[in-house]
């Protein structure tokens, strides 16, 4: 009797603690999406405008959310982007000196969430960030699967900007699916698919290829785009297969593909699948002489750790940062600062993250309302409009202009390069590797318009 009563008390206390924890407010800012419009008498009334404003009191830090893949097998991608953002915060004072700068007199702090490179992660992370009214904007997601229909919708519904450094799936900025508060500084994968098919058909001279995707919007977009462009050039896709990213045994699949006699297998998936396929393909005698190719999902330092010498000869495509003439000096400083503070980059998108942060903070500088007491109000819709009106922004990844569908593309074209392992810049052993092939295309050129 006694024991069960005591247990009931403990259980009750536990439940009450959980309820109290859930109901407590998260401190950090003015705590509310509405606030005074400031003594300067601006035309925007934060109380009535749609989605209101993000308000920071005097001395309170501006909070920026990040929703990136910071754990698991794709952590190399997300952590690399976080480093790009951290360098951007460092550079707010104009110098890369490992001390964070300030934006409009306020410190900037990061609220890091994990997108888990999956729909579930995108949903939970975005919900958490959307519920926090002190988040000015969010940099994310790492993987298109976490954004498409999930994080982009959740954050757009709250009027919070979501700007991605590495989402490349074409669907995210397709007019029918684009969410109003979503942008990206990464390339649209239609371009990468075109470059890959050009490489395979014209540079390698292959006419038969097979594809393997892992059902994510990113991979499926690339293999679908590859098929369209490759067949347009006159090639044939002999087999289209799919895997699950958690599979470990690919030998039956590879045997099956080998029977269709492709000259190359295009597998724009993630690690460890890419590394495992590279290792296991060596054990299939029918695949002797068949080339393997992946894209930026495979292009991470984990590929070289996991595949080792079995990965030699694997082709990797990925974006090459093409800073304009005004930013090439900055690019050198940035690369030196990155190496100094974080070692060699582990993925291809840290410069895009740097640019994403700066595109939005530049817009904040134009629309923020500064109160005479040192407070800061950022109207959400005005900020979004300002970001979408970004023209000729001198970024590290290129000269960016944001268009209404959310692509912040360099109108002077995106540069996609192809490397051959082990000579790839994401390999810690060859950080300065040069591409064996590269092509610069605009989105319109890629789509043949």
């Amino acid at each position: 009797m006694r024991k069960s009563r005591w247990l009931t008390m403990v259980a009750l206390v536990g439940v009450l603690t959980l309820v109290a924890a859930a109901c407590s407010k998260d401190n950090g800012g003015g705590g509310g999406s509405t606030g005074s419009s400031g003594a300067s008498g601006s035309a925007i009334d934060c109380d009535t405008v749609q989605f209101g404003c993000v308000v920071y009191g005097p001395g309170e830090p501006i909070r920026v959310g990040t929703l990136l893949a910071i754990s698991g097998d794709v952590a190399t991608l997300g952590v690399d982007s976080v480093h790009g953002v951290e360098l951007a915060i460092d550079h707010l004072d104009g110098k890369f000196d490992a001390t964070p700068g300030q934006l409009l007199g306020h410190d900037v702090t990061l609220q890091q969430e994990d997108d888990l490179c999956s729909k579930e992660g995108g949903q939970s992370g975005a919900t958490k960030l959307a519920a926090d009214p002190t988040i000015a904007f969010v940099i994310g997601t790492s993987c298109s699967s976490a954004a498409l229909g999930v994080a982009d919708t959740i954050l757009s519904d709250k009027g919070t900007i979501l700007i991605s450094p590495s989402n490349t799936a074409a669907g995210l900025t397709a007019p029918s699916q684009h969410q109003p508060f979503y942008l990206r500084t990464a390339q649209n994968d239609a371009i990468q698919a075109k470059v890959v098919s050009d490489f395979v058909f014209t540079k390698l001279g292959f006419t038969k290829a097979a594809t393997i995707h892992d059902e994510s919007p990113y991979a499926a977009g690339l293999t679908g785009g590859f098929k369209t462009f490759f067949e347009g050039l006159g090639g044939t896709v002999t087999d289209e297969e799919a895997i699950t990213s958690t599979d470990t045994d690919f030998k039956p699949l590879l045997t099956s593909i080998a029977q269709t006699h492709p000259q190359l297998i295009y597998l724009p998936d993630f690690n460890p699948a890419c590394a495992l396929i590279a290792i296991q393909a060596q054990d299939i005698p029918d695949l002797k002489g068949v080339a393997l190719m992946g894209s930026d999902g495979c292009g991470a330092s984990t590929f070289f750790d996991q595949a080792g010498s079995a990965g030699d000869g694997f082709y990797l495509s990925g974006p090459i940062a093409s800073p304009g003439s005004t930013t090439s000096a900055l690019s050198d400083e940035y690369n030196a600062a990155y190496k100094d503070q974080f070692g060699s980059p582990t993925a291809d998108f840290n410069a895009n993250a740097f640019d994403a942060f700066n595109v939005v903070t530049d817009a904040i500088k134009t629309v923020a309302i500064q109160g005479s007491d040192g407070s800061l109000s950022i109207p959400r819709v005005a900020l979004k409009d300002a970001v979408f009106q970004t023209v000729d922004f001198a970024g590290l990844s290129g000269t960016l202009t944001c268009i209404s569908t959310g692509d912040c593309q360099a109108p002077g074209a995106v540069n996609i390069g192809v490397y051959q392992a082990p000579d790839a810049p994401v390999n810690p052993a060859t950080p300065d590797a040069k591409p064996i092939f590269n092509e610069q295309l605009t989105l319109a050129e890629a789509l043949g318009q």
């Binding site: 754990s71 698991g72 097998d73 952590a75 289209e240 297969e241 799919a242 895997i243 699950t244 958690t246 470990t248 045994d249 030998k251 039956p252 699949l253 045997t255 099956s256 080998a258 029977q259 269709t260 690690n271 460890p272 590394a275 495992l276 290792i279 054990d283 299939i284 005698p285 029918d286 984990t302 750790d305 996991q306 595949a307 080792g308």
Partner: protein, 363 residues
């Protein structure tokens, strides 16, 4: 005659389609549909002749090797079920623990070059470390999670096992990080041996041989030794066994130890073939092995081995054999569908599994 037959029909059947055994009919129809579909697919695929004989041979060998790993893990499930009448869902994590504990030793041996210089000794060391790791976790599980629940209703230990599984996965994740890591393997394991004129990968030969030796060894142990006899007695009836003077606790711990040892062996074999380890690596093989154990007849050693082999073969050969003929794009995605369809088929006609006792109530 007719009158006697009518009396034999149970009451509730009267008035329901005049006593037709509808459930049986549906079962048979489903069963025949699956078999006919499979046969049709197979014949069409073979008629297409896109796969060379060597390709089929390779697929069979891959299936046997994969099945051998499943069989070793399934043995753990089967034995624990036999003795405790409980499905130990945390067994996949026992397997993972063995892989991880040997991973750190393997990495050290690789750095110092010992792994490539003395591969046989190194592999034996790794085997012992993996077995130790798995056994440690298995015994811990039994002591902490399962011992108190001996008398509880069947569902309680099941839920506890699932909870333990999640706990172990996330503890490993917390300690070691969520990413998968490459497992270093000695160089001599690359390449293949030609056995009876068939080139088989060296790693796979080792897997098949070791698994075979383990299964045979285990069967002999259970059949011939005294501990084995105690295990069989406890499996048959715990209470009578304890009345006969058998220390039931000790036998149960022994069962977990043996299951853990086999999982450790499976971990090393998995690491050699796939060369990756990660905190969640035990989850899917655990489910597959459980399926294999049920397929073969849970509670029986031969059943687990047979089920593992069959599941491996179905996964490997199944998609290519049954689905290519129907021109289904990307057939390998559907390999789980095939495997589980066959499982359902078997369970419809033999609810206890292929070699099982025919008793359908497992939980």
């Amino acid at each position: 005659m007719a009158g006697a037959a009518r009396e034999a029909i149970p009451r509730r059947a009267v008035g329901r389609l005049s006593g037709l055994p509808t459930r049986r009919i549906i079962q048979w129809v489903l069963g025949i549909a699956v078999v006919v579909g499979a046969a049709l697919g197979a014949s069409k695929t073979l008629a297409l002749n896109t796969f060379s004989a060597s390709a089929w041979r390779d697929l069979v060998v891959f299936g046997v090797a994969q099945g051998a790993i499943y069989a070793l893990i399934a043995l753990g499930y089967s034995m624990v079920y036999g003795v405790l009448r409980m499905i130990n869902f945390a067994h996949g994590e026992v397997f993972m623990a063995g892989a991880f504990s040997s991973y750190f030793v393997a990495r050290t041996l690789d750095h110092s070059g010992f792994l490539d210089d003395n591969p046989i000794v190194a592999l034996l060391i790794l085997l012992l470390v993996a077995m130790a790791g798995s056994v440690g976790v298995a015994v811990l599980l039994e002591r902490v999670a399962y011992r108190r629940l001996r008398g509880a209703t069947r569902l309680v230990p099941l839920i506890t096992a699932i909870g333990a599984s999640l706990f172990l996965q996330n503890t490993a994740r917390g300690f070691f990080g969520a990413q998968t890591r490459g497992y270093p393997t000695p160089e001599i394991l690359g390449g293949s041996w030609t056995i009876f004129g068939v080139p088989i990968l060296r790693a796979q030969v080792i897997v098949i041989v070791v698994a075979l030796v383990s299964v045979v060894g285990l069967s002999l142990f259970v059949a011939r030794t005294r501990t084995g006899k105690s295990m069989r007695a406890v499996a048959e009836d715990k209470e009578i066994a304890s009345l006969m003077g058998i220390d039931v606790d000790r036998v149960i711990v022994t069962t977990f130890v043996i299951g853990g040892m086999l999982a450790g062996v499976a971990a090393i074999l998995f690491a050699i073939v796939f060369q990756v380890v990660g905190p969640f690596m035990g989850f899917i093989p655990g489910i597959k092995a459980f399926t294999a154990a049920v397929l073969g007849g849970i509670g029986s050693i031969a059943g687990a081995a047979l089920g593992g082999l069959l599941l491996g073969l179905l996964e490997s050969v199944g998609p290519s054999l049954f689905l290519t003929g129907f021109h289904i794009p990307g057939p390998n995605q559907l390999r789980d569908v095939i495997a589980f369809a066959i499982l359902v088929l078997v369970l419809i006609f033999r609810p206890g599994g292929i070699l099982g006792a025919g008793d359908a109530e497992k939980v």
